[in-house]
């Protein structure tokens, strides 16, 4: 797990297992770990981790997003985004802080013109 993420014990988790598919809207305040497939929209007031093997085909809004799996969709994180070495991402990212690791495959726009905790100043 990433050092930047709150430790597991401090926060309850929603884990989408490797043999699970969720189609629809997932929202909440628990840390989200995607090991399976989530299609739709994700809105989490906390961290989101797409684990290796996990797939997220969704519009994502969260505080922190760490990607080690596959993501297709737009990611908006008011804290930070980390695209890890195993990540395969297609989609735009809006976040004040971003880390793209060596080895990651990423195609999309990055918009860091984003005040912490504030909404967009322009589309």
């Amino acid at each position: 797990m990433l050092d930047s993420m709150p430790r597991r014990r401090e926060m309850a988790e929603t884990v989408i297992g490797p043999r699970t598919k969720v189609q629809g809207a997932l929202e909440g305040a628990d840390r989200l770990v995607v090991r399976g497939l989530v299609k739709g929209t994700v809105s989490v007031d906390g961290p989101v981790l797409v684990a290796p093997g996990g797939t997220l085909e969704a519009e994502v809004a969260a505080v922190e997003v760490a990607i080690a799996g596959a993501v297709v969709g737009r990611v908006t994180a008011r804290g930070r985004v980390e695209i890890l070495p195993a990540a395969r991402m297609v989609g735009d990212v809006r976040t004040p802080r971003i880390l793209i690791s060596d080895g990651a495959v990423f195609r999309g726009k990055v918009d860091m013109d984003f005040a912490d905790g504030e909404g967009a100043t322009h589309g």
Binding site: A12, E13, T14, V15, I16, G17, P18, R19, T20, K21, V22, Q23, G24, A25, L26, E27, G28, A29, D30, R31, L32, R35, G36, G40
Partner: protein, 152 residues
């Protein structure tokens, strides 16, 4: 492998369909449907406003919807089910509650017609019958869909 599972956390809501080949444990809320080839467990404090189809189902929280299990359904002391339950085995612990049709049949859910067209469907409060095991299958299927009082 039985070491992985899906958990919907206590502060999470899934609006849509969950389909799994592993256990699904609901601490939060699911609105829509849940299908699993393994177990679906609605924990105390959890709410599933959904139809649930699984091998086994344990309700310690609340379910508003129909439950179809191929193996067993257990409703614990704090469990509440508002909907129909179809399962070969049913355990209703003291304190638990179910309101709806209860059908204990050994036929798998896929072989049965949708609950809306069950010919024996009656208003809540009517006596439960062991329906599909006593009626020949074709009689049930030929029954024209009648407007039935909605339950749940």
């Amino acid at each position: 492998m039985a070491d992985t599972r899906t958990e919907i956390g206590p502060a999470s809501v899934v609006t849509g369909e969950i389909e799994a080949q592993e256990d699904v444990v609901v601490f939060g809320r699911v609105e829509g449907g849940v299908r699993s080839t393994a177990a679906v467990i609605v924990e105390e404090g959890g709410l599933a406003r959904a139809n649930i189809v699984a091998a086994s189902v344990v309700v310690a929280g609340s379910v508003i919807g129909d439950i179809h299990a191929t193996e067993r359904v257990e409703i614990t002391e704090k469990g509440r089910v508002l909907g129909n339950v179809a399962s070969p085995r049913l355990v209703l612990q003291a304190g638990g509650a179910v309101k709806g049709q209860v059908a204990m049949s050994s036929r798998p859910p896929e072989a049965q017609p949708q609950s809306r067209t069950y010919s024996y469907r009656q208003a809540p409060g009517a006596t439960t019958r062991r329906s599909s095991t006593t009626l020949p299958r074709k009689v049930v299927r030929e029954e024209p869909p009648e407007p039935q009082p909605k339950e749940g």
